[in-house]
Symmetry: C2
Subunit: 139 residues, 2 copies
Amino acid sequence: MGPTGAGDRENTSDVDDVLAVNDAFYRAFETGDMEAMAGLWERSSRAVCVHPGSPAITGWADVERSWALLLAAPARPQFIVTEAIASVVGDAAWVTLTENIIVGGGSGAGTAVNVFARTDGVWRMVVHHGAPISRGRIL
Amino acid sequence: MGPTGAGDRENTSDVDDVLAVNDAFYRAFETGDMEAMAGLWERSSRAVCVHPGSPAITGWADVERSWALLLAAPARPQFIVTEAIASVVGDAAWVTLTENIIVGGGSGAGTAVNVFARTDGVWRMVVHHGAPISRGRIL
């Protein structure tokens, strides 16, 4: 589904490129691949990561530490991403999606917004904001 | 705190403009001002809103309906925004922040990512993703 906002400079290739990095993020998470995870983030002070239920972590050094801890854990969550919508405006992009998570025999769902910025032709993740969906919420 | 990503076209005026719309969003929420709320959103298919704990709502028509219901409720939450960081890349911008919420004699905190796009010189909200912070989480 494409956005309709006037002034867009979106094109299909950009959307595909952003979705590829978005997909690589979940694959790195699933496989516990810290090198891949570190490689797809923008290593800057504006890198921000919110793990579900947690306060924001700001700046690449702290974001990196949080992923190193998470990916070192034995649990390997599996992510089935649905309802992904990517929007591109120039050298910025964001993807909203539903994370369907299977881990340790249980399952759950969350929402996420992932923001990307393109520098020197390469899209990198600059914000990951994951949040739990509570059962029973209707609004 | 400014981002350090190479290739930025950020400037102080853009950041101020984005933060002004971000602030207007919380004032509209606090005062239940649906006209102000509707006026600051981009009315497009890519408008996405995630109320804390809820699935994503996509497209302006459904986003508008959700706000009409929320703002019609008698509860008037008060928001004290802290740790706001705004980043601008061309005609896109995002703000990450902590929402400190006082409502009905209780209080709580959440994280949010708000994404904005500039069309015809006007910054409008295109994504609001709010999430609860659970007490006791350390990561």
